[in-house]
C-alpha cells in the first residue's frame, strides 16, 4: 500500500528538488554570464570622478528610499520593506531551512523561535496582499502591471502561506502540506531565472552599473 502524500513528499524532496535546482542554478548563471559577456561599450572619455567607489556605494545606498518617496508611495515602500524582511527572516532563520544549508554547505547559524518566524511570515503575507491590492486599484500601477508581476507576487506568497499551514497543521494531511510547501518553493525556483525574481541577483549589477556611470561623470549617486 502506498501513501500518495508520502510519495509526493519524496518526489518533492528528491527528483522535484533536483530538477528545480538545475533550472534555478543553471538559469541564474546563464543569465549572469550572458549579461557580463555582452557588457557595454567601453567609455573612452577620461573619468571625472570615481566610478568604482560610486558603484559600490550605490549597491547599498539604493536600499534606502529617497526623501519624500515613502510619503509619495507608502504601500510600495513600507509594504516592500515588510515583505522582503519578513520573507528573509522566515526563509533564513527557521531551523528546518538552516538544515538545508547545513546539509549542502556544512555551514549553519542560530535559528529563531516559532513566534518570530510565524510573525515574520504573517507580516510578509499581509504586506504582499497590500502590494497586490495597490497594483490592482491604483490606475497607474494597474496599467504598468503585467502578468509576470502577478505571477511573481503569487509565487513568492505561496511558500509563505503553505509553510505556515504545514507547520501549524491548519488543514490537510501534514505530509501532503509539507510536500505542497516544498513544491511551491520549487515552482519559485523554476520561475526565478526567467522572471523579475532575477532582481534578487541582478540588483547588485544594475545598481553598480548605475552608480558607476554617475561616478564616472563626477556625480553623486
Amino acid at each position: 500500500m502506498n501513501n500518495p502524500a508520502f510519495d509526493l513528499l519524496m518526489w518533492a524532496r528528491g527528483p522535484g528538488f533536483d530538477i528545480a535546482l538545475v533550472i534555478f542554478l543553471g538559469g541564474i548563471i546563464l543569465r549572469v554570464v550572458e549579461i557580463i559577456i555582452l557588457g557595454r561599450k567601453k567609455d573612452m572619455a577620461p573619468a571625472k570622478g570615481s566610478p568604482v567607489a560610486q558603484g559600490i556605494k550605490t549597491i547599498f545606498s539604493r536600499s534606502f528610499p529617497r526623501p519624500g518617496l515613502v510619503k509619495f508611495a507608502p504601500i510600495t515602500y513600507v509594504g516592500g520593506y515588510i515583505f522582503h524582511m519578513g520573507f528573509f527572516v522566515a526563509f533564513l532563520f527557521f531551523a528546518p531551512h538552516i538544515a538545508i544549508f547545513e546539509d549542502a554547505f556544512g555551514i549553519s547559524w542560530p535559528n529563531a523561535g516559532r513566534v518570530i518566524i510565524e510573525s515574520a511570515t504573517a507580516l510578509a503575507v499581509l504586506a504582499l496582499i497590500a502590494l497586490i491590492y495597490s497594483r490592482m486599484t491604483d490606475p497607474v500601477r494597474k496599467a504598468l502591471t503585467t502578468f509576470d508581476d502577478y505571477l511573481v507576487l503569487i509565487l513568492s506568497g505561496l511558500p509563505l502561506i503553505t509553510g505556515y499551514v504545514a507547520v501549524n497543521k491548519l488543514f490537510g494531511d501534514p505530509q501532503m502540506m509539507l510536500a505542497v510547501h516544498i513544491l511551491t518553493v520549487e515552482a519559485l525556483m523554476v520561475a526565478f531565472p526567467f522572471t523579475k525574481l532575477m532582481h534578487a541577483v541582478t540588483f547588485v549589477m544594475a545598481r553598480y552599473y548605475n552608480g558607476s556611470i554617475q561616478g564616472r561623470k563626477g556625480a553623486e549617486s
Binding site: M10, E34, P96, P174
Partner: protein, 365 residues
C-alpha cells in the same frame, strides 16, 4: 496450541483470577482502553462487560517475510498485563513461533481451525508476501501467497500487524528484491485493519483486538489504520515539542541540546509526518519511547518509511544526491551563457558588417 484449546480455554475473568489481577485493575485497564480508543467515558462499563463476555474467536496468525519482532512485541508486554491476557483469551489456533506443534501437525491445526470456524475466524498477518518467486518464502512447502489466499478466504476480518504486512515494510524497501507486497495488495474482498509499526506498540495491537471483540471493526483512516491509535502525529503529542516551538534543537547525539532533551528535528526526526500513539502510550508499560530515549523517530508506522531519504536527514533536507547536479547546473549554465553571449556578439558583428552604406543621394530618393 491444538484445537482442544478452543473449548477448554478459560474466559477472561478466570484468567485474571489465576494471574492475581484484581477487578479494580481490570476496570482501570478498561478505562484507559476506552480513552485510548477515543470512546466516551460512559462506555467503560460496556467495554468491561464486552471484554468479560466476548466470544473467543478463533485466531490464525500467519507470519510471512518478517523478523518476529511483532510477535516479540506482543508477547513481551510485562506479564501479567491484561493485554497479555486478552491476547491469551482469544483462541490462538495457529502461530509458528508460539505453537508447540510443527510440520504437518501444525498445518493440520490451521486447516482444522479454518474448517471449524469458516467465515468467522480472525486472520492476523505479520510480514509481507513475495510475488516475484514463490520460493522466496514458504511454510511447509506452501508459498506465502497461496497460504494467505487460502486462509483469507474463510476469515471474518484480517488484521495486518506490523508495517511489513500493512504496507510491505522492510522487504518492500527499495530495490524490493523479492517483489514484496502488503496483504491489502492481494486480498481485496475482506475487511483489513492495518496496525503498522516496527513493531507496533503491544497495547495498540491488543487494543485493536479488544475493539474488534467488543465493537467490531474500528474507524480507519485512509491508510487502513484505526483512527483511535493513529489519529495524531508524534510531533503534535511529543513532550519535546516546546523545544521545537522555541527553536531549541539538538545538533548532535552528545551536545548540550541532546543532554538537555531538546527537539531532535535536525537529527532527522520524522515525528512531524508520523502518526502513532508512541508519544502518549509509550513502550514497556509506559516507561519511554524512542524520542524520550534520545533517538529521532524513524517514522515506522508510515508506508515506505525505510526509503524516506535517510533516518538522520532532517525532513526538510533534499533526499537525493543534489550536490553533483547543482555543480553540473552551474557549469552547464555558464557554458550555455558563454555560448549564447558569443552567438549574440557574432550576430551583432555580422549585422554591422551587412549594413548597407547609405549616402546623401540615397536619402534623396
Amino acid at each position: 496450541m491444538a484445537n482442544d484449546n478452543m473449548t477448554n480455554k478459560p474466559m477472561l475473568p478466570e484468567l485474571m483470577k489465576t494471574h492475581g489481577v484484581s477487578r479494580r485493575t481490570f476496570m482501570k485497564y478498561c478505562a484507559s482502553l476506552t480513552s485510548l480508543m477515543a470512546l466516551s467515558p460512559a462506555m467503560v462499563p460496556r467495554v468491561a462487560h464486552a471484554l468479560e463476555t466476548a466470544k473467543r474467536p478463533s485466531v490464525i496468525w500467519l507470519s510471512f517475510q518478517e523478523c518476529t519482532g511483532c510477535t516479540e512485541s506482543i508477547t513481551r508486554s510485562h506479564a501479567p498485563t491484561i493485554e497479555d491476557l486478552i491476547f491469551n483469551a482469544v483462541s490462538l489456533d495457529y502461530h509458528h513461533t508460539l505453537q508447540a506443534a510443527s510440520g504437518h501437525a501444525a498445518e493440520a491445526a490451521r486447516e482444522q481451525a479454518m474448517k471449524e470456524n469458516y467465515g468467522n475466524y480472525v486472520l492476523i498477518v505479520d510480514g509481507s508476501i513475495p510475488l516475484d518467486n514463490p520460493g522466496y518464502s514458504c511454510i511447509a512447502g506452501i508459498s506465502n501467497l497461496d497460504m494467505l489466499k487460502e486462509t483469507a478466504a474463510g476469515a471474518a476480518a484480517i488484521v495486518s500487524v506490523g508495517t511489513c504486512a500493512a504496507y510491505g515494510g522492510i522487504p518492500h524497501a527499495n530495490p524490493n528484491p523479492t517483489g514484496a507486497v502488503a496483504v491489502s495488495e492481494i486480498i481485496k474482498d475482506k475487511p483489513i485493519i492495518n496496525v503498522p509499526g516496527c513493531p507496533p506498540i503491544p497495547v495498540v495491537m491488543t487494543g485493536v483486538l479488544a475493539h474488534f471483540l467488543t465493537f467490531g471493526i474500528p474507524e480507519l483512516d485512509e491508510l487502513g489504520r484505526p483512527k483511535a491509535f493513529y489519529g495524531e502525529s508524534i510531533h503534535d503529542r511529543c513532550y519535546r515539542r516546546p523545544f521545537y516551538d522555541k527553536g531549541m534543537f539538538a545538533e548532535g547525539f552528545d551536545d548540550e541540546g541532546a543532554r538537555g532533551g531538546w527537539c531532535l528535528y535536525k537529527l532527522g526526526c520524522k515525528g512531524p509526518t508520523t502518526k502513532s500513539a508512541c508519544a502518549t502510550v509509550k513502550w514497556n508499560n509506559g516507561v519511554s519511547f524512542p524520542i524520550e530515549a534520545g533517538h529521532p523517530c524513524l517514522g515506522c508506522t508510515e508506508p515506505d518509511f525505510w526509503d524516506n531519504g535517510g533516518f538522520y536527514k532532517p525532513l526538510s533536507v533534499p533526499a537525493g544526491d543534489y550536490r553533483k547536479l547543482g555543480l553540473a547546473a552551474v557549469a552547464g549554465g555558464a557554458a550555455v551563457g558563454v555560448a549564447s553571449a558569443l552567438l549574440s556578439k557574432a550576430g551583432k558583428a555580422k549585422a554591422a558588417k551587412a549594413h548597407e552604406t547609405v549616402d546623401a543621394h540615397d536619402l534623396e530618393k
